[in-house]
Symmetry: C2
Subunit: 414 residues, 2 copies
């Protein structure tokens, strides 16, 4: 007998028919003799509706208002937890719903983005030991003052993983509308392959590169508590992708996946005086304005007196970033400012990089063969990212996917 | 400084615009220097939506399923409590929401129709004493096992009155879509007058006679704890009707109001053997089938061997009742069965009846003058009801309203 946590997202519980389908997936684990805890999101669209009502009355600037935001939006998961428990009961499976405060799932007081501090397991374990399924409202907890708190958008993933960690579950299955993690976006690379296993660190890089499958905090938590997570489809009954510790990724591949995003914009400042304090003068104001600078490169001119500084910011923040950089021109005395929205960031990711040299060189060579110009490069231990012209993004991803030997055999291509 | 409980129903908080209006009514009490506790219903229509989702998955036959029903439907009030607290905060009024379990408002375990057992007042009083408004989610509480419970439809009235009783409030204002209690239905009697005061006992009789302004349980609770209740309009700013102790109804009127309902149907059985045990044989099966028999009359035939039995049942239960009565014909050996849906029950109500004789006689005389035939009569200490042909209902109500001197003067007629 294993203890399984199953988490179902908003599209998986979007209506009564889908809730009934989800109940059959719970039933399967129960019939297999497992103890089952389920974490559910709100029905698709409900949280957005609740948030828009809250926004209509308040800009939510104060802790008191954020606490009320939480009381309102947490109601969506309350509804699905009750409906799924009822549906299971109708199928002859004993089940009961738990709200965050009933567990109790204790968080800090950072309303609307609370962090889990402790999960009491007595009530849940008693439910499991009496042969019942515990259906937990995701996304929510309770603070030290007994107020309802919520964990931020996508927080039900974190609820699922946190429950698995607290209950020392054998597995946490994240059911969603994709059937696993792929070596690249299958809409771009037709020969992308579903990964059987992926390391926590890899999915963290992939998530921040736009894979958008799991909330990043839930992966960090899974890594910290070594919770085996499976990403799998609610709608297609095939094995998903296991997210596991690096050591368990047995395939000795150099690169695990190729990702791309179109969320960035590039700013280049030319003729910046090469004196101490210049970086602080540029990036200080951007940081103060809460603009997240990602890639940064700096080239010194031949005489060493000036530098060119290039960096990327979220595309949605480009206009604000440009205004800020323009506003420091009088003090900084740089020559000119160029901005470009038509860029894409392409990354190759893999824990195999730790033991394989030459990954970056192979990337640059592959792109050069396709005449793709690299604008900016950044690297981490398990990732190499390049900024290129947006029009070449798909070509670059496909070329890299082939170059690193990730393509599926022709016969099993999608 | 007074402590005021304000209760707002579903139509009063139906959308954000109305919630903003409700907030101005709260603000007025705060600006008058009062401590304010607000109880809110779910937005109009929301509870029905939630109930229909629950019904789609479960017939709700078990305590376990009723507990889940409560978890689902209580979410509607959670939303409005948060939204109203936020709206007040935006107006500069400190406020916070309370769910039933946060108070705690403790109930028994009769899920979906729970009864309040105890209300802890510490958290609410601390909120009031810190100068804040407490916005309480109506209709819900928490049972001894920490499960969410609900009080039955219309339960937010009961929440309001129970909070007023527990907090020893100076007044409980029930804001609704009518502006008070009238001497008769103003749609039928154009010269109906709004009552300044009405006794608890009177409104109990009126509610069960179809006035439908307050949940009956809330009035019983107000009477038991002597809570002064005001029924008033959310939308029209005029004084409402105070519901108070009988002794405080100072006007020495004989009759307080005239009501009518079309919810009943009549069954007459002729030639029933006049032997012991006949009533039990008829009304036992009806009670077992949960059919609520209201008025009963029995006439003995001249020879004393047979009786005619007439009674009323809810119109919606008529077919079931007929089948049951027909099924006992072989054993009971009565002659025939007549059923009539085209009946109306007209009642005159007033605590003044206790000290005024001849009220019933005056009623019968007034109806006789209009050639209205009385089919059944029933009386209580403060009420006389008659069953008549439905077509005469309005005529009867108007005639009685005039006869007891309830008509408004011509100049103030609606």
């Amino acid at each position: 007998m294993a203890l399984i946590v199953q988490k179902f997202g908003g599209t998986s519980v979007a209506d009564i028919a889908r809730i009934r389908h989800v109940a059959t997936l719970v039933e399967r684990e129960v019939k297999a003799g497992n103890q089952v805890v389920v974490a559910v999101s709100a029905m698709a669209g409900v949280t957005d509706q609740l948030v828009s009502m809250v926004r209509e009355v308040s800009p939510l600037y104060t802790p008191a208002s954020q606490a009320e935001y939480d009381a309102v939006v947490a109601s969506g998961e309350q509804v699905t937890s009750g409906l799924l428990a009822l549906t299971l009961q109708e199928m002859g499976i004993q089940a009961r719903s738990f709200q965050g405060w009933q567990i109790a799932l204790k968080t800090d007081e950072a309303h609307s983005k609370a962090r889990i501090e402790e999960i009491e397991t007595d009530a849940l374990m008693a439910t499991l030991e009496s042969g019942r399924v515990a259906v937990v409202a995701g996304f929510q907890g309770v603070d030290a003052h007994g107020r309802i708190s919520t964990l931020g958008r996508g927080g039900s993933d974190t609820t699922g993983v946190a429950l698995a960690a607290a209950l020392k579950a054998d597995r946490c299955d994240i059911y969603t509308d994709v059937d696993g993690i792929y070596t690249a976006d299958p809409r771009v690379v037709t020969r992308a392959r579903k990964l059987q296993k992926v390391a926590y660190e890899e999915i963290l890089e992939m998530a921040s590169q736009g894979a958008k499958v799991l909330q990043i905090r839930s992966v960090e938590m899974a890594m910290n508590y070594n919770v085996p997570v499976q990403v799998r489809s609610t709608f297609v009954d095939v094995p998903g992708t296991m997210v596991v510790d690096e050591e368990e990724v047995m395939e000795r591949r150099k690169v695990t996946g190729v990702t791309h995003t179109r969320d960035d914009a590039r700013i280049t400042m030319t003729g910046v005086p090469n004196v101490p304090g210049v970086s602080a003068a540029i990036f200080g104001p951007l940081g103060d304005a809460n603009i997240n600078v990602d890639m940064i490169v700096q080239n010194i001119t031949e005489d060493g007196k000036e530098t060119d500084v290039t960096f990327t910011v979220p595309r949605t923040d480009l206009e604000r970033a440009k205004s800020l950089v323009e506003s420091i021109k009088p003090s900084l005395q740089y020559h000119s400012l160029f901005a470009d929205k038509n860029v894409a960031k392409v990354s190759v990711i893999g824990v195999g990089m730790r033991s394989h040299a030459g990954i970056a060189g192979e990337m640059f060579k592959t792109l050069a063969e396709k005449n793709i110009n690299i604008q900016v490069i950044s690297t981490s231990e398990i990732k190499v990212s390049v900024l290129i012209e947006e029009a070449y993004a798909e070509l670059a991803v496909r070329a890299l996917h082939s170059a690193y030997g990730l393509d599926a055999p022709e016969e099993s291509a999608a």
